[in-house]
Amino acid sequence: MAREEAIFRIGGAAGDGVQSAGQIMGKTLSRSGLHVVTYLYYQDIIRGGQSWYQIRGSANEIKSQGDGLDILIALNKDALTRHTNPKINEGGASPLQGVAIFDKGISGYEAVDGVTYCAMPLAEIAAKYGSNKLMKNTVALGAAAAASGLSFDVMSDVIADTFEGKGDVIKQNQDAAKEGYDYFSQHFKKLEITLKTSNRKRMLMGGGDAVGLGAVMGGLKFYAGYPMTPASSALHFLASHASKYGVFVKLPEDEIAAINMAIGGNYAGLRSMTGSSGGGFSLMVEALGMAGMMEVPLVIYESQRSGPSTGLPTKTEQGDLNLVLGASQGDFPRIVLSPRNVEEMFYMTAEALNLAEKYQTPVILMSDLYLSENYATVNDLDLKFKIDHGERAKDNTEDFKRYLDTPTGISPRAIPGQAGLVHNEDSDEHNEYGDVVSDAVTDPRDRIRAMNKRMRKMETYIKSMTPTPTYKLDGAEYAIVQWGSTQGVVEEVVDALKEKGHKVGAIEINRPFPMNPDIGKLLEGRKKVIVVEGNYTGQFNRLLKSEFLVKTELITKYDGENFYPSALAGEIESVIKR
């Protein structure tokens, strides 16, 4: 049976147009009705170095960047040798077994078994249609389409949309691609893979787009954010759609201003949000606690990258969980969400805005570079969403207590401008009215009541939690526990291991804190509990152990790259066997 999927990779230097070429390929696949997952490997450099973009497409539901490599577009010699080298060392990426497309000017490489070298006059062809050097990428894209047996028309459409408004450029690129397509067809053989294309166009969405779009659905009015990879993709989406969606987007002086602005916005009654990566989030730590204490709703989008400190700014990691859990002094309620894929990013962002208002406390939406910067096809999106502003006090409520001690811990809010509800909100400990209790005499009873009231909101939230998602967990002797963006790769690994006869299943954590007590049940009676996460110390593992006193086996990765299915499957197998 021929492979039913294709993995493309475009390799070159920063500034070579790797990313734009990759996006055209990705859209061509998704518009051909295929599922797509993309992966961008790049460095913290604007020009030069080595970067590549991988696009995996299939009619079957695929969930990760995958293993293997079928078609390589090498924009320079380094890319050609690197990606054909069987010992490629890019954190788990596979070497090419298939077709390599490159300009015939590249020579002197060592040929590798299993690779068909398709030296093509990319630059020559490109030159016929215009002077832009990057057009040779388009020629190569055409060739790649031919190599994988895609119809040219879809690609042609994608090119038209990509260069929309740029006049002649559209036609030039279309023609160049077409000639690449034809040239390949005439000189080389199509790969032996079957991509079951269809007319059902699929949406290809980036993680950052999903956050931005989800926020809009969730009624966002204000986003204050200071750029930081990989949280910037959401900022850019919102900035470029600000006028359309009526979202005020502000890049302020620093992250401290950003979070305080978001808090100010929420206090004034606007759904407001901020976002950053770990470094910027670190600067938000103090104000986060203020929101918790004053019970101002707040959503923070925290997208992780390789740390510590500046670390590997363009590489992924799941190393900020301790930071997010510990952020700010003292105890106060906080909700941490970790959507598992692009689609869930969309829904959970909207939900986060509801949760923040409902529980009047910070909600942290965690992602990582892998999820925030890469693209994947998503299913049809359900756009019916009910914005729930939580409990609000009515104007002129008698004896209004902003921090009324209630069985749920939730007190009706008042928004400035409302009549008869004038009150003070304070970062100092306060009584039900909002009056500070530390000024004259501190009555410990006031303090205890205030703490209990706030913390009670977490109990209320826990009661409302929906069951923790699992994957083929029934009868699993080995439970793999993952959180956030590793869902896709873990599910593919479960499938692969099951096929090999292993009794495995997965517990998927998209709500790491507070923890759903049902996880305790899910863990019971397993031969082994295997935690898979992308950091050095096993930050989630620590949380899980403290919560359920469960013995675990830990598999980590901290080289900056995401897990790859076959490597992870191997690691899990050896844990099972030992």
Partner: protein, 282 residues
């Protein structure tokens, strides 16, 4: 009709007797009353410090936040709901140390709010350390041999940052103080008022007497003249001008931002996504 008593809070101020903050609280209440603004439409945002306790004592919406961060909070409140009168109130440590950067950027954005600094040249609440406006030589808990730094000049700072209303007042002259605050609130744009506010407990140098001897009122200065304002701002030591040094009409951030300028965000319905909006991802 708004009356002064409408602004009386139910918690009595717990400042030391004769603290300069009292005069500012009273002036603020009077100005707001005179201007006929209702308490429900006022938000007083503060940081942390003796002065920053003020929102606890005034009957208006109060946001008593964290040290140094009142300006970003206040900016967002105003941008979100322009119908509110937003007043920022905090100390010299709060504003010129911890919050240094926010003052510069709020000023250049010409946020439509009034920012009053209770400038006692000391950290009051933390029991007397050198503040950024402490005069050189002042002995405090952190400068037992006298402060050695050149103090911050809040006036030149605000001027260079682009504030459109820059003024100075003195708690020892409550009438004038109130006039300045009234003008500040009326001003459309970022109003910055630095108030000499003696800390009777920890600053034995910058006392009521100290300022009474030195301050003089600006009356017929040309408020639009930046250079003149800058010169007044630099006057110190023997004679210190109080009053409105500078005032100009300039475009505010809310007028130029493509989204905020479209009308109060607070009143706008959230956008409802449709399938049409998803087309860009196809």
């Amino acid at each position: 009709m708004v009356e002064l008593k409408d602004y009386k809070g139910h918690v009595a101020p717990d400042w030391c007797p004769a603290c300069g903050n009292f005069a500012q609280l009273t002036a603020m209440e009077k100005s707001l009353t005179e201007l006929g603004i209702e308490p429900k439409d006022v938000v007083v945002v503060s940081g942390i410090g003796c002065s920053s306790n003020l929102p606890e004592f005034i009957h208006a919406y109060g946001f008593h936040g964290i040290h140094g961060r009142l300006l970003p909070v206040a900016s967002a409140i105003k941008w979100g709901n322009p119908k509110l009168t937003v007043i920022g109130y905090g100390g010299d440590g709060d504003g010129f140390n911890e919050g240094t950067q926010h003052l510069y950027h709020a000023a250049r954005r010409n946020v439509d709010m009034t920012y009053i600094v209770s400038d006692n040249q000391i950290f009051g609440l933390t029991t007397g350390q050198a503040s950024p406006t402490s005069p050189t030589g002042l002995k405090t808990k952190t400068t037992p041999d006298g402060s050695v730094e050149k103090p911050v000049n809040p006036m030149t700072y605000a001027l260079s940052a682009g504030a459109t209303f820059v003024a100075r007042a003195f708690s020892g002259d409550p009438k004038h103080l109130q006039e300045v605050i009234t003008e500040g609130i009326k001003h459309k744009g970022f109003s910055f008022i630095d108030v000499f506010s003696p800390c009777v407990t920890f600053n034995k140098l910058n006392t009521y007497d100290y300022f009474r001897k030195r301050v003089y009122k600006l009356t017929d200065n040309d408020r639009k003249d930046f250079q003149q304002a800058y010169k007044f701002a630099e006057e110190w030591n023997e004679k210190i001008p109080i009053g409105i040094l500078y005032q100009v009409d300039e475009e505010r951030y809310d007028q130029v931002d493509p989204v905020v300028s479209q009308g109060p965000l607070i009143d706008r319905e959230p956008y409802r996504l449709t399938q049409e909006d998803l087309k860009e991802f196809l």
